[in-house]
């Protein structure tokens, strides 16, 4: 994937989409955490909450990797998981959209 070149406009569009997905996913997870916290009853629930929080935040940290060398794969994953809609990537060139579609095709 290293041979893809990103124009200034594409970089801005990519950053926008990346941040949008990140905020979407974090907002959804915040809702889950609020619900888990409301359900806290027993001491051991605190440790369960810590495990859930730690596991998902680690996953989020690893997923949101903004290096141009992996960004196509990141966007494919975010589309597949529903954190982005295809229209969110309108600012990217056709070469990149096609690559993303190919990756999604290979996954599905």
């Amino acid at each position: 994937m290293n041979e893809l070149t990103w124009s200034k406009g594409e970089k801005a569009a990519a950053r926008w989409a990346f941040d949008k997905a990140y905020r979407n996913e974090c907002a959804a997870f915040m809702k889950e955490v609020k619900a888990m916290a409301r359900e806290l009853r027993e001491p051991e629930d605190l440790w369960k909450l810590q495990d859930s929080l730690g596991g998902r935040l680690k996953e989020i940290s690893e997923k949101y990797d903004y290096r141009y060398s992996v960004l196509i794969f990141v966007f494919a994953r975010l589309l597949r998981e529903g954190w982005l809609a295809e229209g969110d990537l309108d600012g990217l060139g056709k070469d990149k959209i096609e690559r993303i579609r190919n990756i999604l095709g290979a996954i599905v």
Copy 2:
């Protein structure tokens, strides 16, 4: 402290007080966590919650050490922090109560 001996009755009383303090402290912390969760707004708040949760749970794990060799110190700390009242330790012998008072005197 190793030379203290614990009767069966004292062991039961110690376990009861220890568990009571643990439940008290966890219940108070659960209230804090529920309040922190209600205040979640931005993605970074999730990481702050993780840090708070991890720090306090580590502290709790280390504090609640039920070895008879350290229990007198644990009870002194729990009294000082308000997770136990002195009456909660009524089932312990005078030798132990005195030791706890001495430790508290040395701390204050």
